[in-house]
């Protein structure tokens, strides 16, 4: 029998407690090496659509806030286009990177509410933000998604939400409006309300 030769992906290792040194050196107090930490600003000018703030905290299985996590997000612009696609908003990068506060663990992204993007079969996915979480003790970066609690109709038709068997867990993927364009999305690594994570 012939063999299919394929390389194996490099195994993941934890980001460890000092991920900030490499990814957010100015945040870590290492000044003067890079002008600015990458991913700090997603909105670069007169952006289209609704500007929002996504706020949250990552909690461990004991309910304690992680104070060393780094969170990255990737999302479409207000029209549902990803940066680099034809017609995408030039004032929006689509990619953000933030550290949890070293005392409280809170993170925040200044972004826009994304538009809907197509699923593989052409149906539309509900507006969502892809999220990646790394920290000490996390061996393989965790992938999840933020959906918006005030998009009930789109959420009800979303092909990925539709395949989640335990319907009561869907609420763990919902960012909740808190007024003034702020949405809250807390991430729970374990426990009763463990966030849904994806194997994508």
């Amino acid at each position: 029998m012939q063999r299919i030769e394929r390389l194996k992906e490099s195994p993941s290792q934890t980001a460890g407690p000092y991920v900030h040194i490499g990814a957010l050196p100015n945040f870590a107090g290492i000044d003067g090496v890079y002008d600015e930490d990458l991913g700090q600003r997603m909105v670069l000018g007169a952006v289209r659509g609704e500007q929002i703030t996504l706020r949250g905290t990552v909690y461990d299985g004991t309910g304690a806030a992680l104070r060393d996590a780094m969170v990255e997000i990737w999302q479409a612009d207000a029209a549902g286009l990803y940066a680099g696609q034809d017609g995408a908003d030039p004032a929006f990068t689509g990619w953000g990177r933030q550290a949890g506060d070293m005392e409280t663990g809170a993170f925040a992204f200044e972004t826009v509410k994304p538009g809907a993007v197509p699923f593989r079969d052409g149906r539309m996915q509900a507006p969502h933000v892809s999220v990646w979480i790394v920290a000490r003790g996390i061996n393989l970066g965790l992938q999840t998604r933020i959906y918006f609690a005030d998009e009930q109709e789109a959420n009800a038709a979303d092909p990925i939400l539709a395949r989640i068997e335990h319907r009561d867990r869907i609420s763990t993927l919902m960012a909740r409006p808190e007024g003034d364009g702020t949405y809250r999305f807390d991430i729970r690594l374990q426990g009763e309300a463990e966030t849904i994570f994806f194997d994508i």
Binding site: A15, G22, P25, L44, G137, F197
Partner: protein, 259 residues
């Protein structure tokens, strides 16, 4: 808006190359560390218990931000000098780390952002939460970054980091290592890992290394000393290739050059 942000804005180039029938190869999760690895104690309260939910990648996972050379400063890939006040630079054995970012089909992944961080030659990090008594090197910051060329090649210059003790078991030490964060062409390829050094006996004592299930997997993170490439009277060269997830190709797809 600073010049840097403006640059960032205009250097966004096509990220979305999703082709019908494409999508990323499924990740072999048995090859990666499990979420729960009790010998690495911090994983116990930070590991999801429920199985992750799988779906085939969509545009959201197949696109990603693109980074280009012009956002880098001239010393970004030179950790010996990028923080140093003295012209000699950081203290420690000088090394060059070079290699390729590849996908699972062995194709180079161009325009990958490779970010690294490490302890100094004494094993000490420049970080508020660092507790090791080894001294800081005033000329070493510990961060570097580069972007792969059109063939997926990257290279940076640094000093060999020292091993260091860490609070886990009563006497756990990390082997000398360099942390790598890699951004390929799509969100679903995002990876953080660590590079170890050929011949280091500490590798086989480390609970974090030990989270990787197979010896073969561990060995794939050990950089090779390349004496042929070594620069006489300057720096030894270590070679370290990184493999990111590949993408299914469709028969009639006209973009075969990688993600």
């Amino acid at each position: 808006m600073s010049a840097f942000q403006q640059k960032q804005a205009v250097t966004q180039t096509p990220g979305g190359h999703a082709a019908p029938g494409g999508g990323l190869y499924a990740r072999d999760r048995a090859w990666h560390p499990a979420a729960l690895t009790p010998p690495y104690k911090t994983s116990v309260a930070r590991s999801p218990v429920r199985a992750p939910i799988s779906f085939s990648t969509t545009l959201s996972e197949e696109t990603g931000p693109v980074f280009t050379q012009d956002m880098l400063g001239p010393l970004d890939a030179d950790l010996i000098h990028n923080y140093a006040k003295s012209p000699e630079g950081a203290i420690g054995p000088r090394i060059v780390v070079q290699g390729r970012v590849l996908d699972e089909d062995g194709r180079g992944v161009p325009h990958s952002l490779v970010e690294v961080w490490q302890a100094n030659a004494g094993g000490r990090y420049r970080h508020k939460k660092e507790g090791y008594l080894a001294p800081l090197d005033p000329d070493f910051g510990g961060c570097g970054r580069c972007i792969t060329d059109e063939f997926g090649n990257y290279e940076f210059r640094t000093i060999q980091p020292g091993p260091y003790p860490w609070p886990n078991g009563p006497n756990d030490w990390r082997p000398a290592h360099i942390h790598f964060s890699v951004f390929g062409r799509s969100w679903g390829q995002r990876l953080i890992t660590q590079m170890y050094f050929d011949g280091d006996p500490m590798i086989w004592h480390c609970p974090i290394v030990g989270t990787i299930p197979s010896r073969e997997g561990i060995e794939s993170l050990v950089a090779r000393l390349d004496m042929e490439a070594t620069i006489p009277m300057d720096a030894r060269v270590y070679r370290f290739d990184i493999v990111l997830r590949g993408r299914r190709q469709t028969l009639f797809e006209n973009r075969m050059e990688g993600l």
